[in-house]
Symmetry: C2
Subunit: 273 residues, 2 copies
């Protein structure tokens, strides 16, 4: 919560018009066997803008290069792949989250040096492995630093799994919360499920959360067992893929008609009334 | 929370393969002087899918027709405009929200009769005036009814103002809540602002909300006056338009550098630490 003094601007940047930081969404098929056609999941405007960017801040350089290759096939890149400047966010920012001051967050991380190219007048792209950077993914420290440095921030349209799942859940979309991951320990997880259910039932606030794919079946079993029969439980798996599935039923239905979630596809879960 | 018996399927539908209910996002420029090129804000896959749909459930038939005209210019519609079946959600569902059981919601509304065409084998589209149907907009009753009737639900990718604003805020995107509108009464609004700030500061949960454009300046003033100096306050206005603006600063900054929000452009607000 303390606002630190910002480092001085990089030499030579004074007076140079700053570039824009574009928040570039990525397709949701990262790590999946299946791929979605890029032009079905991302607007041409987003792809064209991404193709023109040559300076990147990313979660993972390898997946960023793979994404740029897919873009290049539709909209030729302004610079060849080997000519792109691609900088990864430090590992500790991935693990702890890079929201300054958030519980467990890497509070000391200052992303402003990463924006040197923007200060020198280049447009930059921020990208994560899937979906929107800085939403259920690292990147917020970079966005915050951009605002503090007077670098314009423009979010580009693309798929966001949490929101697609919310819309497809049929649950309250006027009031909702995203909670990230639930605890791994079974007892703590059950307690957290009951807390989120209480919030959903009392306030009508839909509660969304995610899990690492290989733990999806265990989380699903815990949800069906722990939640009350009249709570509504929804999931959306493989969003934007041909194999995408969405379902939303009362828990008492799920108890009668067991559902096996596959353990390799990203799933978003939602509970509400 | 009570699960009512569903009405019998429409005559003749038994045995017919059901259609899919597509959740069709709309551009964010509804009611704005400016329009965004459609292909910059929506993937070709979404536009192509929408062009093939001839049965619609919508918030407003007039804006749906205007949207279909814009789609037709890029992807010719499967049926001419006058041949499209367009059904509006009832007015009371707009006003009270159509989340069954939500506080103040139109709990008695059963949307399943609206899905007769899907039961008879036609794909259907659900669309609102801007952004994603059923997210900060009506439509969740239709999605819920589709799941209950065994109609497949597929959300299509497009712009969602709340999520674009969250990403551009630089605030915590691992834990966030959307709260809809704040109260209009000044004292109640200030109290609600303080409640949301307490949640944001205590739990690190970013709090998002919206306002009717002509009340944006009043809400902004109330936020700058009511929030604590070290709380971070962000806004995103005119998202996806050429005139889009995003900003995120500590409240003490906003007090020193007053900001006038325009009263005609949609704005999403966010607070956090």
């Amino acid at each position: 919560m303390t606002e630190q003094a910002r480092p001085p601007l990089p030499p030579g940047a004074a007076g140079t018009p700053r570039g824009t930081l574009y928040l570039v969404p990525a397709p949701l098929d990262f790590g999946c066997d299946e791929q979605a056609p890029l032009e079905d999941a991302l607007p041409a405007g987003t792809l064209r803008k991404a193709a023109g960017i040559t300076h990147w801040i990313c979660e993972n350089a390898k997946s960023t290069r793979a994404y740029l290759k897919r873009i290049d096939a539709l909209h030729p890149l302004a610079a060849p792949l080997q000519g792109q400047s691609i900088t990864e966010l430090p590992r500790e920012v991935h693990k702890k989250g890079d929201h300054q001051g958030a519980p467990g967050g890497a509070a000391g991380f200052d992303a402003s040096p990463l924006l040197a190219a923007a200060m020198a007048g280049h447009d930059m792209g921020l990208v994560s492995e899937a979906g929107m950077p800085a939403v259920a993914d690292p990147g917020s420290s970079v966005v915050r630093a951009a605002h503090d440095l007077g670098v314009r921030v423009e979010p580009l349209t693309g798929p966001v799994s949490v929101l697609l799942a919310l819309a497809a859940s049929g649950l309250n979309g006027q009031n909702f919360a995203f909670n990230g991951y639930l605890p791994q320990d079974a007892a703590q997880r059950a307690q957290r499920i009951r807390e989120l259910e209480a919030l959903a039932l009392r306030q009508g606030q839909t509660q969304l959360f995610i899990e690492t794919p290989y733990r999806n079946p265990a989380l699903w079993q815990a949800l069906v067992k722990t939640l009350q029969p009249h709570t509504r439980l929804a999931f959306a798996s493989g969003l934007t893929l041909a194999s995408a599935r969405t379902a939303s039923q009362l828990v008492r239905h799920w108890r009668q008609q067991p559902e096996m979630l596959d353990s390799r596809t990203p799933v978003v879960f939602a509970i509400g009334r």
